[in-house]
């Protein structure tokens, strides 16, 4: 049997680690990864011994965005299958965002598309100084609907409007400036930076931490509801099935520019 795509463990201190484990695909975002994330956080949610969760990734990159080959197949799903897939995505995002104990993302390498949503959904994020970020969805004609709520909550609508529209890459320093990550550290100092945060969390009362997170969600307006989640999933599913998305994904896979690409230098 091959190794699970998402691993999870809990140590004796009550610190859980969820690891994206598909390094050969750079932890690209697809149905299996999404289901793995939902399953891991679902299992940890029921464990009262968990005092904090670390989300990290094996391999060269945290997550290289969507698995486009798989996304292209999704464009041919029936509308029901398509919506079901989007609901699994929004559901996984919500399971992470609303996880009752503190969550800490540890980012290295590339963090694109849905990967940025995972980082935004965690309470605290630490990134290697060499990591890069982008909300790349529009470049292939799809949209980042399932991650927009956590993204807006993390970086505010002002920055979200820029990066969701331009698809620009930005570096770790910019990610910290706009609030997507809280700390940056050179790769060799990442584990120490993570330990500092986790050690601080373990000084807090376990119940007080859960109640403080609930407080921040209630007061900060971060909670969502089933109607909003379903609306986001519907928007994503409709877009994925559109002619433009088929063109964008098809062009990417055929390594040619999409029809809307500028023809020359003007």
């Amino acid at each position: 049997m091959s190794e699970a795509i998402v691993l999870h463990t809990v140590d004796t201190r009550g610190v859980a680690t969820v690891t994206l484990n598909r390094p050969e695909l750079h932890n690209a975002y697809n149905g299996d990864l999404i289901d793995g994330i939902a399953a891991a956080f679902g299992a940890l949610r029921d464990d009262p011994a968990v005092r904090a969760v670390i989300l990290r990734a094996n391999g060269k990159h945290f997550s290289a965005g969507a698995d486009l080959g798989w996304l292209r197949q999704a464009a041919d799903f029936t509308p029901e299958q398509n919506l079901d897939f989007s609901l699994r995505t929004t559901g996984a995002m919500r399971a992470l965002m609303e996880f009752p104990a503190p969550t800490v993302a540890l980012v290295h390498g590339a963090c694109f598309g849905g990967g940025t949503g995972l980082v935004a959904a965690c309470d605290i994020a630490i990134a290697g100084t060499d990591s890069t970020f982008a909300l790349t969805e529009v470049r292939v004609g799809v949209n980042p609907a399932p991650i927009m709520r956590p993204m807006n909550a993390a970086i505010g609508p002002r920055q979200a409007r820029r990066y969701a529209l331009t698809g620009e890459r930005f570096d770790a320093a910019e990610a910290r400036r706009i609030g997507l990550v809280h700390e940056t550290a050179p790769r060799e100092a990442l584990e120490a930076a993570l330990s500092r945060i986790v050690d601080a969390l373990l000084l807090g009362g376990p119940q007080a931490l859960r109640e403080t997170k609930a407080l921040a969600f209630a007061v900060g307006g971060l909670s969502t509801d089933d109607t909003t989640v379903r609306a986001m999933a519907t928007v994503a599913a409709k877009r994925r099935a559109s002619a433009e998305a088929r063109e964008g994904l098809g062009a990417f896979l055929a390594k040619r520019p999409p029809a809307w690409a500028p023809k020359g230098n003007g």
Binding site: H182, L201, G205
Partner: protein
């Protein structure tokens, strides 16, 4: 007995409210909360006051909850705790909604509720020597009634970190995340505060008041329901086994159970 709160109003309409319990790092108890609330309410009514500076005497700006008060609280019922938390919620609300511009002069450490006072002022200037922490979770408590103002100042992203980790952070970080607007060497603190107040006094008094109301209305200041809800949350925690363990371990100078290796 010296006053726990000092008040001075100058001829230009600048009021300076000074926390004056330096021996206990300007920690607040029920008496100080009542005194400060009355002071801010009275200043809000005074036609001759156009700007309010909140300052503190001694090494610290405010260490948050007073030890004696915490000792009394430990024996409170949930209802007594709710009334008590309601008083702090009211103080911060009165400061936030004071119909004159407010400027915090942060010369030293601001911890817990002290961060709430800073966050509820319109402008905050900190000495480079100042430091900050939302330390509540280390006592098994939550930064409940101050959270609307803290989140309003630094946003939910930074609040999720500092409310959960209770890390101490310095003045530069406080400026980066928006808790304070500027940091200055300690020796320049008064002259920078004077400059901010001078700018405030150039604005039409009614226009400044209405601009503040506008910023609060459009920016979403917490409503009464939120204020009541946050007081209820902390009252429940204080009466819980974890909250009691956290406070008693602190008073007994030992580690709480959850920090034992």
């Amino acid at each position: 007995m010296t006053d726990a709160v000092l008040l001075a109003v100058d001829v230009n309409g600048r009021a300076t409210v000074t926390l004056n319990r330096p021996d206990v790092h300007n920690a607040f108890d029920d008496a100080l909360i009542a005194h400060l609330t009355e002071t801010f309410e009275a200043l809000g009514q005074r036609a001759d006051v156009r700007a309010v500076v909140l300052a503190a005497n001694g090494k610290s700006f405010s260490a948050g909850a007073d030890l004696g008060w915490m000792r009394r609280m430990a024996n409170y019922s949930e209802a007594e705790n709710r009334a008590d938390a309601g008083q702090l919620a009211r103080l911060i609300h009165v400061l936030d909604s004071l119909p004159k511009p407010t400027v915090a002069r942060v010369q030293g450490a601001a911890i817990g509720g002290g961060v709430g006072l800073v966050a509820a002022c319109d402008v905050a200037i900190a000495s480079e020597a100042a430091s900050f922490a939302l330390s509540e979770v280390r006592l098994g408590l939550i930064p409940a009634v101050i959270s609307p103002y803290v989140i309003g100042a630094i946003g939910p992203r930074q609040a999720r970190r500092y409310m959960l980790t209770a890390e101490r952070f310095d003045a530069a970080e406080a400026k980066r995340i928006g808790l304070v607007h500027d940091t200055v060497p300690a020796a320049n603190l008064d002259s920078v505060i004077d400059t901010v107040v001078a700018a405030l006094l150039l604005g039409g008094p009614e226009a400044v008041r209405e601009s503040k109301a506008l910023a609060r209305d459009v920016g979403g200041s917490p409503d009464e329901e939120t204020r009541t809800d946050t007081a209820r949350r902390i009252a429940r925690l204080r009466a819980s086994p974890e909250g009691k363990e956290g406070v008693s371990s602190f008073l007994e100078k030992r580690r709480p159970r959850w920090q034992e290796p």
